[in-house]
Symmetry: C2
Subunit: 197 residues, 2 copies
DNA sequence: CGGGCCTTTGACTGGTTTCAACTTCTGTGG
DNA sequence: CCACAGAAGTTGAAACCAGTCAAAGGCCCG
């Protein structure tokens, strides 16, 4: 993907919420940098500090942690138009608990904290947009927590299917399992069961 | 609890993050209203619209949903200095999915959307404070989701004990179980096991 | 074509729920 | 202040869901 196209997509994304004049676009071009990752490369590794927040223009990033049993726990799949970072590390400057890797060749824009503060200051409505973003993020997490605590594996898989039909096509099955908090074997059996029964 | 004291506590709480002059305090007094609930009374019921966000001065509120099996799922216990609302409903104006009830006689300050916008406009740094609040909230939710998906019941209980030793003392055991996403029987057995072994 | 990873399948294990009975605690009215 | 009813907590036995371990088949990519 071209740099110009990535910014263009980002402007379109932003303009759904806030108007952008030429000056604002220029500021964004100067604060957001363009980056690419090839499949299997890392955007962030656990223990490092998350200096950047990423906005995906094309491709897919996966955010995950290693839990205390040494298993990968997938937190999020970020596709076109989504954001990805370790929020805690980005905000506090402490080492990240999350890893973020590319599941496909991915193009994205990155923003550091200085850039963020600059944008908050210069572009009216941007801080509000980020707040709304995080609020929606929080709501989604509440629903997911609710599901994790009260629904069984099959029910959680069906919700995932319904909510992200595109992502199910796109990522390996064992990663979906790790997102749902179940083993690959269990997910395989659930799918078999859904097809036959 | 007295009205004056509630505002006083709130000012102290706010001043940890943002300075407040006389004017700001006056604005807050005019936008946040004082409320009381007796034990077992509701602050919000599922299906109604959450017109308010609450800041607890004294007491304890419990936020919970009824899941699709008709079981209560406790989302949060809000004690002194915490906030409580159905974020989704408050922001969108859609009916709430959450119930919020008082576990004790509780005194708190409430803010509606109009008041919030007013405060964001009039008090510099307030929007930032709310953003940081939500960001921290999000981080906490991520950790809890992680735990829910990858740890067993005993491990989750131990984390809860460590993180909220005061709340464990304060709320009935079966509500802690519903917070952890386990049955009261299981929590009882876990506790027995921890004491003897 | 071959190697390694992903997925599937089977048998077994273990943690958690369910159902039921019993005990303890709490609050309310006589 | 006691009695009693209802709620909360404990304990046991059986059932169930998901995990673990192991092995075989499928598929992608070098």
């Amino acid at each position: 993907m071209e740099i110009t196209q990535a910014y263009q997509l980002f402007f379109e994304y932003l303009e759904k919420t806030i108007p952008l004049n030429q000056t604002s676009q220029e500021i964004i071009r100067n604060t957001f940098a363009f980056r690419k990752l090839k499949k299997r490369q890392y955007f962030l590794q656990e223990g490092n500090i998350a200096y950047h927040t990423a906005w995906i223009a094309k491709g897919c990033l996966r955010t995950f942690t290693i839990n205390q049993n040494g298993m990968e726990q997938t937190m999020q799949f970020s596709v076109e138009g989504w954001w990805a970072t370790d929020m805690f590390s980005f905000l506090s400057g402490e080492p990240a608990a999350f890893n973020i890797e590319a599941l496909e060749d991915t193009s994205f824009l990155i923003l550091d904290k200085i850039g963020r503060d600059l944008i908050f200051e210069k572009i009216p409505g941007f801080e509000r947009l980020m707040r709304i973003l995080i609020e929606n993020h929080l709501v989604a997490h509440q629903k997911r927590l609710n599901a994790a605590l009260s629904l069984n594996a099959e029910e959680r898989y069906l919700i995932f299917l319904k909510k992200y039909p595109d992502i199910v096509q796109r990522v390996p099955q064992h990663l979906v399992a790790s997102y749902l908090g179940i083993t690959p074997e269990t997910l395989s059996r659930i799918r078999k069961n859904l097809i036959s029964g």
